[in-house]
């Protein structure tokens, strides 16, 4: 690889968050280089289900960001189509809707409380009776005590979306370098960023964006501005392609609670959805571990059992494979988006837990808004870097 030229901004991490930040910055006229130690979209971005959800957030800043991002995605995809053409911009975008399903008497109250709060925050929610739910999803269990339908929940293919964002960056003159590890930050005498070090070389720039996902905590520590971002492991079971089996994202009503929980121990909650290819994806599990990527059969068993609880017919469907990944977890379960006051020119965009695909569009937009001094798309305060839960002592 030849020497990398200079840029205004070096984005570290070519997952969907890094790609979305790079795209949004380049749209604002900023010269951007994206570097990744591996291949683009090869880690967390490739390990999820492509959810763009408003249904799984409790009211608050996370939901505001989710609503802004859900609004932004289709507009962004139109912009990408215009710039790079319909073929590269095809990302399997589908507004499929979500169903939160309660199967016990105890789950009815919490689901009603959650949806009431979401409705008050402007999320469209429709309560369905069991018959109507089974009209929408004929294979759904008969053990239904309550169902809420979220028509705005959507899905896309995250690797394709990342590739489209990076193609747009390239179309605007930006660069992407795979297999390049940033191992330090060059600063001037005042402590401000002037370059991203890659071994003996440095890429001159006036800002870097830490978009390292679950590795953002580790990276931030190596450059002396630590933030508390930890890996939270998840696993997914994949069936062979099925004839139309589940149309929406269907999940157990306990899912939101599992997402929001701060527990380090294993939490599982059934989530079932299909992809454009016809495979059914079965999640979800959450456990805080180190970067241990063993497949845990006991967890897979929990996932299968949960999915059969929602769709009994899955009991006879063979599983084709299983995969796992790491979500970037923060102690207060909010993303970190903004400039680090400890090191002018260092920006972070990470900590989206399992919602990074959905939140990417607004995250990129917000970071670019803050970088260029525009009116921010949402209130950036809750996501600021120097909140006590996030900024660790160097």
């Amino acid at each position: 690889m030849g020497r990398i030229e200079s840029a205004d901004v070096v984005v570290i991490g070519a997952g969907i968050i890094g790609a979305a930040c790079a795209e949004a910055l380049s749209a604002a006229g900023v010269r951007v280089i994206v570097v990744d130690r591996g291949a683009p979209a090869s880690a967390t971005t490739a390990s999820g289900e492509g959810n763009v959800l408003v249904s799984d957030k409790e009211p608050g800043p996370q939901l505001e960001l989710a609503v802004a991002s859900r609004r932004r995605w289709p507009v962004l995809l139109d912009e990408l189509r215009e710039l790079i053409g319909p073929r590269l911009a095809s990302v399997e975008w589908e507004v499929k809707g979500g169903l939160a399903v309660a199967t016990t008497a105890e789950a009815v109250g919490p689901l009603a409380a959650l949806t009431a709060a979401q409705r008050a925050s402007g999320v469209e929610v429709e309560d369905l009776d069991a018959d109507r739910a089974r009209e929408l999803e004929p294979h759904l269990t008969e053990q239904i005590t309550a169902v809420s339908h979220f028509p705005d929940d959507a899905q896309l293919q995250p690797v394709l979306a990342t590739a489209a964002l990076l193609a747009a960056l390239r179309a605007r003159g930006g660069e992407i370098h795979s297999g390049v590890t940033v191992d330090g930050i060059a600063t001037d005498r005042s402590g401000a960023v002037v370059g991203a070090r890659t071994g003996a070389d440095a890429i001159p720039c006036r800002a870097v964006v830490n978009a390292c996902g679950p590795w953002a905590g580790h990276f931030s520590a190596t450059i002396g501005a630590p933030i508390d971002v930890l890996p939270r492991r998840g696993m997914v079971l994949v069936t062979a392609p099925l004839p139309r089996f589940v149309g929406r994202k269907v999940y157990d009503a306990g899912y939101v609670d599992a997402v929001a929980s701060p527990e380090a121990d294993l939490r599982t909650s059934a989530v079932v959805e299909s992809t454009a290819a016809g495979t059914v994806l079965i999640g979800s599990s959450r456990r805080r571990t180190a970067f241990d990527d063993d497949l845990d059969v006991a967890v897979l068993r929990c996932l299968a059992r949960g999915a059969i609880g929602l769709f009994p017919k899955l009991a006879g469907v063979p599983v084709m494979r299983a995969y796992g990944g790491f979500r970037p977890y923060t102690p207060d379960r909010l993303p970190v988006i903004g400039e680090d006051p400890r090191m002018p020119g260092l920006w972070h965009a990470t900590g989206h837990e399992g919602a990074g695909i959905g939140l990417a569009a607004a995250t990129g937009r917000l970071l670019a808004d803050l970088f260029t001094g525009r009116e921010p798309v949402v209130d950036p305060g809750p996501f600021r870097v120097d909140r006590p839960e996030i900024a660790l002592e160097a």
Partner: protein, 85 residues
């Protein structure tokens, strides 16, 4: 051993895979693709590619190259993606 392949009786050797039985019966393909309806049969032969899927005793998506036949197996061609019967 006796098995059925799409309704017809065939003799199988103990230890043969379903794919071996199908090949011995002169079959090159036993599945169609979901969208294009194109023929598929044995490809990798080692359980990785999921191309040789077939229905055995009502269970779809069985890898013919991995499944060892049992006496009386009912082997049926798979039409695209199928749900278990």
């Amino acid at each position: 051993m006796r098995v059925r392949v799409d309704g017809a009786e065939h003799v199988a050797e103990r230890g043969q895979t379903v794919a071996a039985v199908l090949l011995a019966a002169g079959r090159g393909s036993w599945r169609t693709t979901r969208i294009g309806g194109r023929p598929r049969g044995l490809f990798c032969g080692i359980g990785v590619c999921f191309d040789c899927l077939v229905v055995v005793n009502g269970v779809p998506d069985v890898r013919a190259c991995q499944r060892v036949v049992a006496d009386g197996d009912d082997i049926r061609s798979q039409d695209g993606a199928e749900l278990p019967s």
